[in-house]
Symmetry: T
Subunit: 68 residues, 12 copies
């Protein structure tokens, strides 16, 4: 149980609707190997289209356990 | 009125629902002495459970006035 | 088409309701010249009033193309 | 009253006398549009002339409300 | 004598007059438990009122020895 | 179980012997209220005495759950 | 001569050819008001097209003197 | 088209000739899966051999779209 | 020999005993493809259990050569 | 005139009186070789003695031209 | 006694055995002029040889008093 | 062979022509003692003269082995 090791990957999720949708997309589509672990938001950006926030882009660092 | 002084503390609030719920929890439960003041979001993290965002963890720096 | 140049400005939007409302306010009221471009969230802060998050303040760096 | 938006600009003030003089110069000469707002010191530098501090250069980020 | 431990707290002092007055206020009013120790300036900010530096706000991290 | 909140404090532990001793001292003497939680090493410093590392000083940020 | 003040702006220049071309484009097209001053490279990015560096994007902070 | 997700990887390219050659090498040899995307220069280093810059080493963060 | 390229990955190793054990675990279990290269410690954290340092968690950035 | 090169050194000056006195001391006593050049304030710290700011410690990075 | 000035230098010590050995080597071999003073660990890196931590490299900033 | 120690110095090289020329100047003129070692680019700046990049200034941290 002790001495576990973890891998960290970095992904970007997007959503036209909200920051949490962008996080959900990143987890489900860009990091399918990360079933149990944690994420850290590294940046929140977005497109501006016609003077409005078009698409949110949320960068995530994701850590997950490596099974032996 | 001038020469006020402020104390800053650091807390983490959590919520399974949203980032703003995690902020609200942090303010109401972890910083009851901070009735009037300001907060600065220092980190946004979360658990991944079953490949989905499980619980949001939001770190806050909180400043509030010290009454003489 | 190549060799475009961009200007970056910094603004703060506010909202009593949510972080994304604060972003929307910043884009529509503080950066009307940025019709097409991108934004980067640089800070998330807020007022505490009566022990609750009063007003969200979201700092944005905004980039937009300079027309020749 | 709520939903105010702010613009942030960056300036450098100088003074041969002191850091606060350099701040005062920056505010009065480089940011005349900022009548009410706030500043954040981003850097303190200076010239060395004949082995002594010659001129202080103080970088400021300045935020001020955009009137509708 | 060896193996001492220290606590660090964060405060903000203000003064309409000078940066060192703001530091002095922070130490005397916001950190009375810190009789012997050290401080680190973490930020220098201020209000702008009528186009002038109104009130200096100086953030300090303060470290002091914990008596056993 | 969900919606827990945490407080973060900052301490410095010292030891003439090793970095891990300094961490252990910080936890046992400077943060007795932190029974269950986590720490993050924020800085590793030390005294030099007679040209040798005299005393290690290790800064820690410590997070722990606030019981309701 | 002393007590000069400076304004700082932020721009992004691009070039398909080189980093210095991107800097030159930024100065000539995005900052025409900066005739005499200095620049600081804040980021170097680029497009990848067909597996190759397509267009360099160089962010610059530009400082220039404000004439009274 | 919306809701795209991206993976970010980190590589180091080298070249005895120039910084842009080191970037080109990194993209073609270390990130063959990144056909369309973007890069961000994270560090520029190099060897010194005989008192001269021997080999440039350029660190890149590379982002590219994950095809569903 | 020149023009080598390198990949960088990020891992976390843990150990109940020491920081160097956590580094050794990370290298042997989480980065088996990195036979020759370098590492950079990016963070040192740990669990607190019963008021003591329970398990050290050491984050590493690992670089290794990509064979052609 | 062009192609000048500069050396940068780092010093700490102290003063019981003020931040600018600490800067002046650093320049005159710790960097006598820097007759013409520039300085950048890297940190402002101090001792606390009897609950008051005892001695200011100001860290400076100093750059000066190397004569051929 | 007051108004002391300090010089800061930067060194890297190495050891195949441990982080504290690398610190000790740096102090005794790379900074013999620093008899009394302080150090700050600025980075911890290492070689990987045969999949194991080969040699620890520890960067130190060292401060020491300049005798008048 | 093991247990080597290194000194790090900081210099700025300049060139009217290119970033790599500025690096070459820094190495040959400002760091003649660094025959074998490494460099890290810490900043890229420049003069603006007549609206164009006049002189590149490249800051380098240079590490080199200390011979026993």
């Amino acid at each position: 149980m002790t001495n576990s090791v973890y891998r960290k990957i970095e992904v970007v999720g997007t959503s036209p609707d909200s920051i949490s949708d962008a996080i959900a997309n990143a987890l489900s589509k860009a990091a399918p190997e990360a079933r149990e672990g944690w994420f850290e938001v590294s940046e929140i950006r977005g497109h501006i289209t016609g003077g409005k926030a078009g698409i949110y882009q949320v960068g995530l660092k994701i850590g997950f356990k490596i099974e032996p």
